[in-house]
Symmetry: C2
Subunit: 350 residues, 2 copies
């Protein structure tokens, strides 16, 4: 596999609008000791790409500060968290059997060793990512997926969206026989939540916009609710004793309105704030009912191994809404921001 010296890459030069992301002819990076060079065959888009570009994460004590999710971004930065591809070069000290292997990349940097480490960095944010033809990653983040029945495009959908969804289900201890409500159910994480929750035997009530309800139902939701029609009141009447968990990527006023829809001891798991990050919370409604508000960011190493197992067995099939060439990254990000699709948007390299 001949590797050129230069490649097309989309990199951020600063926080800002679409123009802050520029297509450049960049050098192909060299894998350092313990790293591998991965040829990017497919790279999925995520909302975090938009928020990182915009610097929409704020800082403690300064909610309007422009910042990446973990603090300042070291520009220029090639975006893109989700990479499926092939190992084409090895840094020193890497097992030579990795060469030529089809891999799915775990995009996380972790704060410690062990199965339950916390993610404190992300490909495309704290190091260069997959909006490019090649990317270097730590060898132990490149997981062998030889034999997976999923296409490269489908594989690339998994790391951030399905990793985040799996992290939410695991941290929220969602089990077979429970009833869960999923917000933002047509998005990348939302649809992954619907599929993964249903696959583990939970009853899924999904909230989405009117035009997307049939697609969400097709993905496995048992009940679908138009978000424009007082969804929490409807969830309250669908699950009279309250739902066991809410799996929420929207936040905003929904947390205040929806909290009484949880059963005694229920869990509200949040992994995003599409509907607004500033929450007005009557803490009595939480503590008097033993309710838990769980923040959930990405996955742990243990969750990612489960995801690789899902990829190998193909028991969940990601929903791909559209594919793009890397050169069309601006159109792809605009489509992502417009939210008219259901499922994942993926960059595909020939």
């Amino acid at each position: 596999m001949a590797v050129p010296n230069k490649m097309l890459a989309a990199r951020l030069t600063a926080h800002g609008g679409p123009g802050a992301l520029e297509l450049v002819d960049a050098p192909v990076p060299s894998p350092a000791a313990g790293e591998v060079l991965v040829r990017v065959d497919a790279a999925a888009l995520n909302n975090t790409d938009l928020w990182t570009r915009e610097g929409a994460y704020g800082l403690p004590g300064d909610p309007h500060a422009r910042s990446g999710w973990r603090g300042p971004i070291d520009f220029p930065r090639i975006q893109g968290a989700d990479v499926a591809g092939v190992v084409v070069r090895l840094g020193s000290g890497v097992d030579s059997r990795m060469h030529g292997i089809r891999v799915l990349v775990d995009p996380a940097n972790y704060d410690q060793d062990g199965d339950d480490a916390n993610p404190v960095g992300l490909l495309g944010s704290e190091r260069n990512g997959g909006y490019a033809r090649y990317v270097t990653v730590h060898a132990d983040r490149a997981h062998n997926v030889e034999g997976s029945p999923l296409s490269n495009t489908e594989l690339a959908c998994l790391p951030t969206a399905y990793g985040t969804a799996l992290g939410m289900l695991e941290r929220g201890r969602v089990q077979a026989g429970e009833t869960v409500a999923v917000t933002g159910a047509s998005g990348g994480v939302g649809l992954a939540l619907v599929q993964l929750a249903a696959a583990r035997g939970a009853t899924v009530i999904a909230v989405s916009s009117a035009g997307k309800l049939s697609a969400v139902r097709h993905a496995g939701a048992h009940e679908v609710i138009d978000r424009a029609t007082d969804p929490w009141q409807q969830i309250g009447s669908t699950a009279a004793d309250g739902v066991d968990a809410v799996l929420d990527v929207v936040a905003g006023t929904g947390i205040t309105t929806g909290l009484p829809s949880l059963r005694e001891g229920g869990r509200w798991v949040v992994a995003g704030a599409l509907g607004g990050y500033q929450i007005d919370l009557d803490i009595r409604r939480l503590y008097l009912h033993n309710i838990v508000l769980l923040g959930s960011s990405m996955h742990t190493p243990a969750h990612f191994r489960t995801l690789v197992d899902i990829a190998k067995r193909g028991y969940v099939r990601p929903v791909v809404a559209a594919t793009y060439e890397l050169a069309d990254i601006h159109r792809a990000q605009a489509d992502l921001a417009a939210r008219k699709h259901v499922g994942k948007l993926v960059l595909v390299n020939d």
Copy 2:
């Protein structure tokens, strides 16, 4: 044990100020099937008594509504959750060996059977309580504490304050070797948290008011911080990598200010809102760091059994600030509201 027909009792006639609680000559209740009549030898006061009297719990969607913690109170209601005493009469179907036994009463009504049931009612709120000479309770809530080295006054301190503290530690999974911050550390629940957390091998940083710091340190806190001196900044410098858990009965602005003091994946456990219930929360600060905000109300049946074991072994000695006769209930509640004491206030019957 002769039981009279009438007894002194302090009962609420409505929500309101001290005058809403009236001392009356009430009939001694009869135990129904499955219940026992307990002679109240000691009954501790709790903040929930004040909040129930005032109706300070609000309702979902109506934060200023006057309400008990679980909704409307069925007046008149004898207050008092924490009872230590002796079983003096048995309802039908109760094991005759319970007669004459020294007991500690679990004040909870639960929503289901099993070890992990949620409390959905409280003695003195959803049924008549221990601000009286006698009280009826379900027989299986009257736990045998024969042989406990604790006095009746000490025993009566345990159910609500130590039950709530134990519930917070268990739900927050506080373990030996962890560092925890305790707010409101001189109060009933706060001091119980300090004692129980230290007893399980955690390092305790306690926040309290200046005049009470030495008493809090004496109870087992490893570090004490004056709450008037920017405590979260101090906690941040004491535990540079962040504390593992915050055990909080104050809430208010402290949640917003203190959240960055938690380590990645840390737990903030709330069981009260002495400092205000309306929380202004940037949900990104929660989810980007895998932080969990746990509401914790009272204890489970499993927690209460642990508490009874603590009572029998006497390995934690509750701190009694002052004792009162039932006839002095108004002075006792006024002292509780003034918060000049450290530890528990207890009504003691001769």
